[in-house]
């Protein structure tokens, strides 16, 4: 008989990949992370640094590091629901981001990054999007697109609590049960053949279901990276923009 803690950890299969887009020559400006602070609780995040900002690779990495710090230190105060946990993390994130900005004397342009945050609490799923990205839950894919009107968390650091709350929870989805889901930065929409640098991304019909919904290669931890390799070797498809994806399969429900 396996201990309960181990059973809960085995329940979730977690896959992640971060790929540099071919239009970004030096740095990948996306980041991803996941944490399992307690049995039955999984937190995942993807972040996309604003290319128009400064040190965008740092902004996305900082975002994920802050989320990790919050998750790993929140046990004594952790709410007992997915939405409660997600809300706690988001509000604490805004506080921490402001603290780090001030401590490191950072300009707002240096901390511009999106955040897609997912919290799994036993079987329940809660996802919040602060900026563009893609969410796929049990085969249903949702693109979050602000039509080039960026609205990064860093723009809201000095707002009142009420204003921050309405911003943080404007784009939230919840499910009481799920079999698999994925969160991705909007780079997942940019797969194209490398020769057509300015072409309209043509591969989304193929790429999104394959990367976000399809569960093949689930026996390998590098599932998503290997799928990206196959998209390149079989179809010549590469991401033009950087991509970060976290995918979770709930083995109990699937």
């Amino acid at each position: 008989m396996l201990p309960a803690a181990l059973i809960f950890k085995m329940q979730m299969k977690i896959y992640t990949t971060v790929q540099r887009g071919f239009e970004h020559r030096t740095y990948c400006e996306d980041a991803a992370g996941f944490w399992q602070p307690l049995p039955g609780v999984t937190v995942a995040a993807v972040s996309d640094g604003c290319s128009g900002g400064c040190n965008s690779h740092f902004a996305s990495a900082l975002t994920v590091k802050i989320i990790g710090k919050i998750v790993n230190s929140m046990l004594p105060q952790m709410p007992s629901s997915a939405s409660g946990t997600g809300g706690f993390i988001l509000s604490r994130y805004m506080q921490e981001l402001l603290t780090v900005k001030q401590a490191l004397c950072l300009e707002t342009g240096e901390i511009l990054a999106t955040l897609l945050l997912a919290v799994v609490y036993h079987n329940a799923l809660w996802i919040a999007a602060l900026g563009d990205g893609v969410i796929a839950i049990d085969g249903e894919i949702t693109e979050i697109n602000h039509q080039n009107t960026p609205d990064y968390p860093a723009y809201h650091l000095h707002q009142s609590a009420n204003e921050q709350t309405s911003y943080l929870f404007a784009q939230v989805c919840e499910q009481t049960a799920f079999t698999h889901f994925a969160i991705a930065t909007d780079g997942v929409l940019s797969f194209t053949t490398a020769q057509h640098i300015s072409a309209v991304p043509a591969g989304n019909d193929l790429v999104l279901p394959y990367l976000l919904n399809d569960n093949s290669l689930q026996t390998t931890q590098s599932m998503l990276a290997r799928k990206c390799n196959l998209l390149h070797s079989k179809y010549g498809l590469l991401p033009a923009d950087d991509v970060a994806v976290v995918k979770i399969i709930n083995q109990i429900n699937s």
Binding site: T220, Q221, S222, A225, K227, C228, N229, L230, S233
Partner: protein, 226 residues
């Protein structure tokens, strides 16, 4: 597995390659050692075994251990696949012994090359990108092969003609000792690089040191330098 010896085990069943589905990474470094075990190697074979075992131990401790797969082919007048591609952590102890009475260098190079290409294709079909390093270690010229050097050369040229392979496939011929024919063998087989090394323990260690650096460079996407 560490107490197993290559001479105790015959892995030559479908080359016993590691199942691509069980690989947990998305990029591997595949190293093939094609090693001459004809009687003339007696003067340095113990040093070679020691150096290769040191290499194995170092790689098993390194950060690229989970990405490094190693295959071993030995040859005299016959060619024997000692191990298909296996994770370095599962590599048995090297214990080559001088045997036979000839040197089938071309046959062995072709065997190592074909194994490398077959497995590379299998891995890429399952989404794993590969860097392939073919190390041929010999102290003499071919006198027993049924295949010509041109077959090795043609196969290598086909591989390297692909842009995808050009920067991820490296072949090196190590000529051990003073035979004058290593340059000609390299040219005839189309091997990309030639390194001549002496038979002393220090020289053998230097050769294995180069191999270690090559493996690390391949893992870091850095060019291999001589």
């Amino acid at each position: 597995m560490q107490n197993l010896n290559f001479n105790d085990v015959d892995f030559n069943l479908s080359y016993n390659n590691f199942n691509p589905e069980d690989i947990q990474v998305d990029e591997t470094v595949n190293a093939v050692f094609v090693v001459d075990v004809s009687p003339s190697v007696a003067g340095y074979i113990n040093e070679l075994n020691h150096a290769l075992n040191d290499f194995t131990a170092a790689m098993q401790q390194s950060h690229i251990a989970d990405r490094l797969l190693v295959s071993v082919v030995e040859f005299c007048e016959k060619v024997k696949v000692k191990s298909g591609f296996q994770p370095v952590a599962q590599l048995p102890t090297f214990g080559f012994k001088p045997t036979g009475g000839g040197t089938a260098l071309h046959d062995a190079a072709l065997q190592g090359l074909k194994m490398a290409l077959d497995y590379r294709n299998n891995l890429e079909a399952s989404g794993v990108n590969t860097k392939t390093l073919l190390f041929i270690i010999t102290d003499g010229e071919d006198n027993s092969s049924s295949h010509g050097a041109d077959e090795v050369k043609n196969t290598l040229q086909q591989v390297l003609a692909s842009e995808r392979n050009a920067f991820s496939f490296v072949s090196v011929l190590f000529g051990v000792g003073n035979a004058a024919s290593f340059g000609q063998a390299q040219k005839d087989m189309g091997i990309q690089h030639l390194a001549k090394v002496g038979t002393s323990g220090a020289e053998i260690k230097r050769m294995i040191g180069f191999i270690s650096r090559s493996v690390s460079s391949a893992a870091a996407n850095a060019p291999i330098t001589f």
